[in-house]
Symmetry: C2
Subunit: 326 residues, 2 copies
């Protein structure tokens, strides 16, 4: 398809390319009649000023790469949508990169984003052994992930979230509480939830039950791990799940096996994305402040793009959504 340039616009409007350029840049004297002729030629030919050329010239693309595992997972979906909205309000575009938990794909995206001169990256993946973010001179903000020096990490207050959830289960009488957590070999802010769980179990003299369900596993494997664990440990009467999907899997399994939630087993999730609660208004969960996480990550990234130093680890407050599963 042939793209239209200012030459074609000038021809159509029967003026010089210099005149078209003056109209575009609003520079010099142009009569209203000429301006109208040029503008109607532009709309007739569907000419749009080339922002790519401008980006190349200014060495600023107003483009941000988002590398997340998946825009389908409700927490990430809402985060991506909020970030995209906030960036669009600031004149930035978003290149969407779903790593699908594939480290090769993640590295390829990182290279692609650099070749396309993005101004910065927001990353929220959970893959191990990706050193490519380290020491980068590109502004990067990580969400729920510790990427080492030079990278700002934004997360919720995971310790407080763990404490809130587990204390609620204890208050409601649970004695055998299972903590379903992510892969403990990855350094993630969410690991603090399990620290809170362990501290509370110790404080109340309760036995710990911990099941690791790596975030990167396919849903079917997560389901199998949880079902096997609950089958083998029928004494479990409380569950603190790593996210609302894991909580939903547990609830569905329990109810299919004639255990009532919350009468027999109490279950609390994590994340509290709007979409999840729309479909599952019963669920009790710890709500991450997704809007604040998005806003903080966006602001910090734009600050870094503008040359400000941002090295903080930011922890944002969680809250309890009291449904009917605890």
């Amino acid at each position: 398809m042939k793209k239209v340039g200012i030459r074609e616009v000038a021809q159509e409007a029967e003026v010089s390319t210099a005149t078209v350029s003056r109209v575009l840049n609003n520079r010099g004297y142009i009569s209203q009649e000429t301006r109208n002729k040029v503008q109607s030629a532009m709309s007739k030919l569907e000419y749009y000023p080339n922002d790519l050329a401008r980006a190349l010239y200014k060495k600023r693309t107003y483009t941000v790469g988002l590398i997340f595992p998946s825009n389908v997972h409700p927490f990430q979906a809402e985060l991506i949508q909020d970030i995209e909205y906030l960036l669009s309000q600031q004149g930035y575009k978003v290149l969407l990169c779903n790593s699908l938990n594939n480290p090769q794909k993640e590295i390829a995206y990182l290279t692609m984003l650099r070749k396309n001169q993005v101004d910065g990256i927001i990353v929220g993946t959970h893959n191990k052994h990706i050193g490519d973010y380290n020491g980068s001179n590109l502004p990067i903000v990580a969400i729920d992930r510790d990427l080492g020096k030079n990278t700002t990490t934004v997360a919720c207050d995971n310790y407080a979230g763990g404490e809130l959830a587990v204390q609620l289960l204890i208050n409601r009488g649970c004695k055998q509480i299972l903590d379903i957590r992510g892969d403990s070999s990855i350094k993630l802010p969410a690991n603090d939830r399990t620290v809170a769980y362990q501290n509370l179990m110790k404080k109340y003299g309760l036995k710990t039950y911990i099941l690791e369900v790596p975030f990167v596993l396919p849903a079917e494997e997560k389901k199998a791990l949880i079902e096997t664990y609950l089958h083998d440990n029928p004494e479990i009467d409380g569950i603190f799940a790593g996210d609302d999907l894991l909580a939903s899997i547990a609830i569905f399994y329990l109810e299919a096996h004639h255990k009532k939630v919350p009468t027999d087993v109490k279950v609390i999730g994590f994340d509290g994305a709007k979409q999840t609660l729309l479909y599952n208004p019963r669920l009790t969960t710890i709500r991450q402040p997704i809007d604040q996480i998005a806003e903080t990550a966006t602001t910090k990234l734009i600050n870094k793009i503008n040359g400000k130093k941002e090295k903080d680890q930011l922890k944002l407050p969680v809250s309890l959504v009291l449904g009917h599963t605890v």
Copy 2:
């Protein structure tokens, strides 16, 4: 932040810029030693060849704009993820544009995408009165939306989906069947579902009950419309919902008001996104072939970008997911 160019690479490697250029383009004779020096300088300085300059020169950006209402809605989320995956496999990048059902935002995105010289657009919004797609010389594929001439529309076989759902409700004994549909004033392929519903009601001599719930409404308003309707029409014993969210809202309302699903009222949804079924494995629904829709839309768009004519209206086959709500 200063971006590194081939001049800096040449300086670091102690060679000329022409040599760096020859290494980059794999042209002319270069000793292995020089090649190594240049490559280690590139990786030390984090230099990445500028794909923006190449795009500008070749008048081909390998960028596609996706304009959808929201990357959070499970059907659209899965579609966006599948499309992004398929495009990335073909070397295309994706600019994500969530219109959030705001026509001004949609028009602004369309202008932004054109200024950024995207090669094509895939659009799946439901706003009325957006004429800006008409007669465009830019390759465009619409999903579930009729954008008029020059635009390829990809959708599921909505008539067959409606027939499958309503016939199932009739077979299971429903007599007062409610069709919850979208805004009838927008020309959408999904309108065929209601045509199928009406034809079957006529065939079996049953009264029609139709509730319009525009897709663009906030979830709370959708909820209020459905709850009021069910409250005012307690005889309803079967519901064919426009999507799985509307089905979930109805089920939750019915159960909170002491009607059993499926004993008292049978409910069937539409879409069947993987994420929805993970969280709601009980739900009976009509599954759209999201993977096929994504693949068809992507293929047709790339064909159009490559200058092939594509004017078809494509209808892809649906299937029944038999859960426990019918």
